[in-house]
Point group: C2
Chain length 415, copies 2
């Protein structure tokens, strides 16, 4: 008997049929004697429909009212899922964020959870009911409805698991778990049994969009065992483990993340004086543009090159901002390269394994891939390269670090 918090996203509850399938899955856990708290998102498409209504009304919808509007999406799902469970003869009870009482700050449309009162949920669990909670929403001190922003349902699930001291928080999604890299790029990408929180954070932020990064942070902070698994297929998914695997045979690399659609801006020949990086990056981030990789390299002649990457969609705007301040920067040149991408090796093991970086650079050199930028952190090495080499680079690295699934070929050619 365990207490499990499960989260089902919009695709998993996207139709009456799929809600029924989720209910079926839950009854299996109940029959097994587990206590189940379920967190659900709005049915897929619903949040977009509501957002479109709001945008038809006004270009910048009032944030407070936007939350009142969007929170109805999950409210519909909790009611329908409870009906599906009741129909099967299982007690079920729905709660909106306000009813649980998931207390948040007052930042409408991007609120943060402050506190969860788990009394009502516990009472209901003791009565033998499945508890179904609307994800993504809460209330502030004054009782105003707030939302946690897109993807906030993962955060709701983790926060509930922490408040209830659940044995596990299971995030059901449309993939089987976390892979060594995107299986669409590398055929024999391997499903990971487990991964550390740090690795998951790097993989999530780098583009393996399985879990919301805020939810992973939250789970790490409150030591909630988190598992990612498929709504549609059997399997135990990937456990995001609280502790590093101490196995000596532990591979150095957990996976390879990549980011497409990046653009690189180089401001070259600026004077090598304090504050110059701020002068370049400040106006860009003031304009609400997210800057990713930043590198600075002082040249022998005392001048400086500052290079950074942004999303390609924002690159023209970024260039315009830099051009405008070019005079004050005293720069020789400002160059925009729209066709780059980023590839990263992630693994807590690289801390203790020497030679990871050189092995990575050699693998890329063997394929004649030129590296434009290198950045490193404790558990990650990223390179920015020409976009056209993305797949080639990922495959080369996946193979060089021996990440492939040994069962892949067997699975493809069953005897």
């Amino acid at each position: 008997m365990a207490l499990v918090v499960q989260k089902y996203g919009g695709t998993s509850v996207g139709s009456i049929e799929r809600i029924e399938a989720v209910a079926e899955k839950i009854t299996g856990f109940r029959d097994n004697g587990d206590d189940i708290v379920v967190v659900v998102s709005a049915m897929s498409g619903e949040t977009n429909r509501l957002t479109a209504l709001a945008l038809e009304m006004m270009q910048q919808p009032t944030p407070r009212e936007m939350d009142v509007l969007l929170s109805t999406g999950e409210q519909v799902t909790i009611a329908l899922l409870c009906m599906a469970l009741e129909k099967r003869g299982y007690g079920a009870r729905s709660f909106t964020g306000g009813q649980v009482r998931i207390l948040t700050d007052e930042s409408h449309t991007k609120a943060r959870i402050r506190e969860i009162d788990s009394t009502r949920i516990r009472t209901q669990l003791e009565q033998g009911d499945v508890v179904v909670v609307a994800g993504f929403q809460g209330v502030d001190e004054s009782g105003n409805i707030t939302t946690l922003g897109r993807g906030g349902s993962d955060t709701t699930a983790v926060a509930l698991a922490a408040a209830l001291q659940a044995d596990e928080c299971q995030i059901y999604t449309d993939v089987k778990g976390v892979y060594t890299t995107d299986p669409r790029v590398v055929e024999d990408a391997k499903l990971l049994d487990s991964i550390t929180f740090e690795e998951m954070l790097e993989l999530a932020s780098l583009g393996a969009k399985v879990l919301q990064i805020r939810a992973v942070e939250f789970a790490g902070k409150y030591k909630v065992p988190l598992r990612v698994l498929s709504s549609f297929e059997a399997g135990s998914g990937t456990l995001i483990s609280l502790e590093e695997d101490t196995d000596m045979e532990d591979p150095a690399i957990a996976g390879i993340a990549f980011e497409r659609d990046e653009a690189k801006l180089t401001v070259s020949g600026v004077p090598d004086v304090p504050g110059i990086a701020y002068k370049v990056i400040g106006p860009v981030s003031d304009a609400g543009i997210e800057v990713d990789v930043i590198v600075q390299n002082a040249a022998a002649d005392g001048s400086n090159d500052i290079t950074f990457t942004v999303k390609r969609a924002e690159s023209d705007r970024t260039k315009a901002i830099l051009d405008e301040i070019a005079g004050t920067l005293d720069a020789r040149e400002i160059v925009l390269d729209k066709k780059v991408c980023k590839v990263s090796l992630v693994g807590v093991g690289m801390r203790s394994h020497a030679g990871i970086a050189s092995k990575m650079f050699k693998a890329l050199a063997d394929e004649n891939i030129n590296i434009e930028i290198i950045t490193t952190s404790e558990i990650k090495i990223s390179v920015v390269i020409e976009e056209k080499y993305l797949e080639l680079a990922v495959r080369a690295l996946h193979s060089a670090f021996d990440l492939g699934d040994p069962d892949y070929e067997k699975d493809q050619n069953p005897a």
Copy 2:
């Protein structure tokens, strides 16, 4: 400066455009210095959409979860209307039933309002905001979402007006107000400036479906001045007045109501003994069939005829029930007549005016219309007649009691 509660139904808020039109109307009142509390229904079609989802899930949806589901409909509207007001530069704030705190009993899907806490609304009005409240919904003592049943938004508006001691409760609808009879039947039907609560109750229950009967009862009980008017056309509509008009010239008749699609069942030749009416009607109402007119007439031979009407759609089922118990009734005959209708004269003035009934019967006789059943109350006389005579009877009575709009022909043929 007045405090006005306004209610806009589903058709009035059925699209973004219409919500904008409602916002426009409200700004006019604000510019005039009035304090405005608005109650809205779900956008037209939305409640049906949600109900269909629930019915796809289970044939008899769990009432508690049905309320969680349906209450989202109004929540969408309050958010959108507030946005429309904010866009126009007017402060606005939405409240769900639970947020106001509209406390109801625990009867899910047909809850009754127990108490309204008007503190939050008053605070918001003092800050100069338009307050927008979701109709049709509340919460019970335990914080569960409840709904008042279809049409409950009118009740919400009246209850709020009572709690706030508003100067007027205005129900905006798709008609201009209450007419002497249905203008589709009588061309020169006259819009009434005012009508008493009692008359309105009789007219509403008899088929002039302008206002929910529960809301009218509520308004009468708490002495809330109620006005019915059009969302789409200018005009001051019809005031449902707290006091009878004491004008000596007050006409005896306020209006003519009618009910189509009735069916008449006659159980003839039953013994004239105590309890026989119960024996006939009991099984019918136990089956959930609503019985309208009931008359009983003892014949000279000591036998009895009991006649009653039901909705035509339920007449076959009613007949089957009676046939089944025919043996125990000791009846000579059970006859179903599917083609009848009911026409009613309503007016508090008839209490003090003699001869209303005879004038009514003469007007029908002059048209050779045979009366099958007559029933009377303090302020109403109803006759059941063959359905084919419905329009003819209503027109004859409208003209006999001189209810026509004197300006009608002028309006039709402007100089």
